[in-house]
């Protein structure tokens, strides 16, 4: 197909594809799936962190956390807008989320149990997200690429703030330091899982790479994340909960153990500690808010009618 070939050539040449241009149906579908999944993750991601806003330990930390969660909602907004350029409405995407058809990042199905978890999410979860997202700034689809540029800038700020929470805590009381180690123990493996299974197990990877929707393999990114994060853990005086972790001089990186992929697939299948609650919270927010959205719509319609009537009367 010459059209498809021309499309691929533009992608190969590093040109951006824009909303009104022709694109293969598979490309569109893959993008919608990926962008909306990412958007849903930002939205659901408000919940585990929101869980500590009312309990943040200082006014400053509360303000920082509020600002962070606000940013995440903002990211969700950019991403839904990017998805909308592909011809799918935000309401449709919500419907997919609420029905359980669409996924969001499994990491948000883990609970935030102590304040150290808020630090760990910034450091590890945002850290892993950035690792995944930095290459997406160069994604072939223009609106997605531009959304990712904005998002990455804010995410690295969040990551630093997370690390800062932990830094303060490890310098604190023994109880605080123990909380940080406990948080690392619980978040380490789920963070590694955020890059997805080994690429041999991933079906969509090759085509996504060709389309420049995906730019690096899952294993590549995971390696990079481990190499970046282990020294940070050491700096905090923490022990990474992986007995197999060793420096491999030859490859210039760490060797490390495999996450529990059975747990990973279990969480994806809905059996994570918080899947039911996260989804229920989002459904409830949406359903309870129906009257509000209807109210605003009705008002907008009334105003339009009134303006039209006024216009006729004036003529």
């Amino acid at each position: 197909d010459p059209v498809e070939r021309a499309f691929q050539e533009r992608v190969d040449a590093g040109q951006k594809i824009e909303p009104k241009e022709w694109m293969p149906e598979g490309y569109r579908k893959t993008l919608v799936r990926q962008i909306s999944q990412h958007a849903h993750s930002e939205i659901v991601g408000q919940l585990p962190e929101g869980n500590w806003i009312t309990r943040a330990p200082t006014l400053e930390r509360k303000a920082i956390l509020l600002a962070k969660v606000q940013d995440e909602a903002g990211h969700g907004l950019y991403l839904y807008c990017a998805a909308e350029t592909l011809g799918v409405s935000r309401d449709e995407l919500y419907e997919q989320l609420h029905s359980g058809k669409a996924k969001y990042s499994s990491i948000f199905n883990y609970p935030t149990l102590t304040w150290a978890d808020i630090g760990a999410i910034g450091w590890l979860v945002d850290g892993a997200a950035i690792m995944n997202q930095v290459p997406l700034q160069r994604c072939s689809y223009g609106p997605y690429s531009r959304a990712m540029i904005r998002i990455c800038k804010e995410e690295s700020f969040h990551q630093r703030q997370g690390y800062d929470i932990l830094m303060k805590m490890v310098k604190g009381t023994p109880a605080q330091k123990a909380m940080v180690q406990d948080a690392l123990n619980r978040w380490w493996w789920p963070s590694l899982m955020m890059f997805g299974p080994s690429d041999d197990a991933s079906v969509h990877s090759a085509q996504s790479m060709a389309w420049k929707i995906k730019q690096n393999s899952n294993d590549e990114l995971r390696q990079k994340f481990v190499d970046q994060t282990v020294p940070q853990a050491k700096y905090l005086g923490l022990t990474v909960p992986d007995p197999d972790l060793t420096w491999n001089e030859e490859k210039g990186g760490y060797d490390f153990g495999q996450p529990d992929w059975e747990e990973f697939f279990n969480v994806i299948a809905g059996n994570g500690p918080c899947n039911a609650e996260r989804l229920e919270a989002r459904r409830k927010a949406w359903n309870d808010g129906a009257w509000f959205r209807d109210g605003l719509t009705a008002h907008a319609e009334k105003m339009a009618e009134r303006r039209a009537a006024a216009k006729i009367a004036a003529e």
């Binding site: 200082t58 006014l59 969660v69 303060k168 805590m169 605080q176 927010a285 009705a298 008002h299």
Partner: protein, 260 residues
């Protein structure tokens, strides 16, 4: 740093009382608003509410920070927020009302914003430079809060029959908590006399006007001015505040002296 300013002539206890009242309002309402995080009816509202809460927490830092200075016992804004028990809080009962549905949250916000806006506007002209400076910053934020909450209650009041009903009900529920905003005591009178703060009573006419205009546009009926609850400004709260504080203060209470 504060003791050498000309404001030192004003009664310190009255000034401290005022700063706690103003800071506690921001803290407690900020807390309530932040409870919505991730649970609001649309994404834009999640963002807007986080923003409102953020402004209010920022204002809390300023007011309670100044209260700590004025109090002169070396207490920080965090000490005041996290280490006082309920009867030492001075916020209006209005701001500790439970969120209820989203309409009630918005109505509470509007009724408070209209007053907060007028208060800050007057405080910009305070004879106490420190207060005037905080008010200057907070006023800009709160002018926007009011614009937003006013707009939303109008749209929902004049929306569907259901949204109208909910807003009217929210108004009826919250109305008896608005009177407390306008009842001054000796401490207010002393500060008003010195031009540090407006007297609470002086804000009533302006508030009535803002509220009447918005309610008219929202097709909502202003409730009769019946019995008005009070107590928050002198530390007698509702049963809700205790639960707010048990969450808010948990970490500081459980790990005394730790830094975060």
């Amino acid at each position: 740093m504060a003791t050498a300013t000309p404001e030192a002539t004003v009664d310190k206890a009255a000034l401290l009382e005022f700063l706690l009242r103003t800071g506690d309002n921001a803290l407690v309402l900020g807390h309530r608003v932040s409870e919505w995080c991730g649970h609001s009816p649309v994404l834009e509202e999640d963002i807007a509410l986080a923003n409102t809460a953020l402004d209010l927490i920022g204002q809390t830092q300023l007011w309670l920070g100044l209260a700590g200075e004025v109090g002169g016992r070396g207490r920080t804004a965090d000490d005041l927020a996290y280490l006082r028990d309920g009867y030492e809080f001075r916020n209006l009962l209005l701001v500790e009302r439970p969120n209820g549905d989203f309409g009630k949250t918005l109505m509470r916000q509007f009724l408070f914003d209209a007053w907060h806006y007028l208060l800050l506007k007057a405080l910009k002209g305070s004879t106490d430079r420190r207060i005037a400076e905080i008010a200057e910053k907070a006023f800009k934020e709160v002018a926007y809060h009011l614009e937003r909450s006013r707009d939303l209650i109008i749209r929902l009041g004049d929306g569907t029959a259901e949204s109208h009903r909910r807003m009217q009900e929210a108004l009826a529920d919250l109305w008896p908590y608005t009177g407390e905003m306008f009842v001054g005591d000796a401490s207010d009178a002393a500060l008003a006399e010195a031009g540090v703060v407006p007297s609470p009573e002086s804000l009533k006419a302006g508030w009535d006007e803002i509220v009447a205009d918005a309610l008219a546009e929202a097709t909502l009926k202003r409730p009769a001015d019946g019995y008005m609850h009070k107590g928050g400004r002198r530390g007698v709260h509702t049963e809700h505040l205790g639960y707010i504080l048990s969450e808010l203060q948990f970490l500081q209470r459980a790990y005394p002296g730790a830094t975060w």
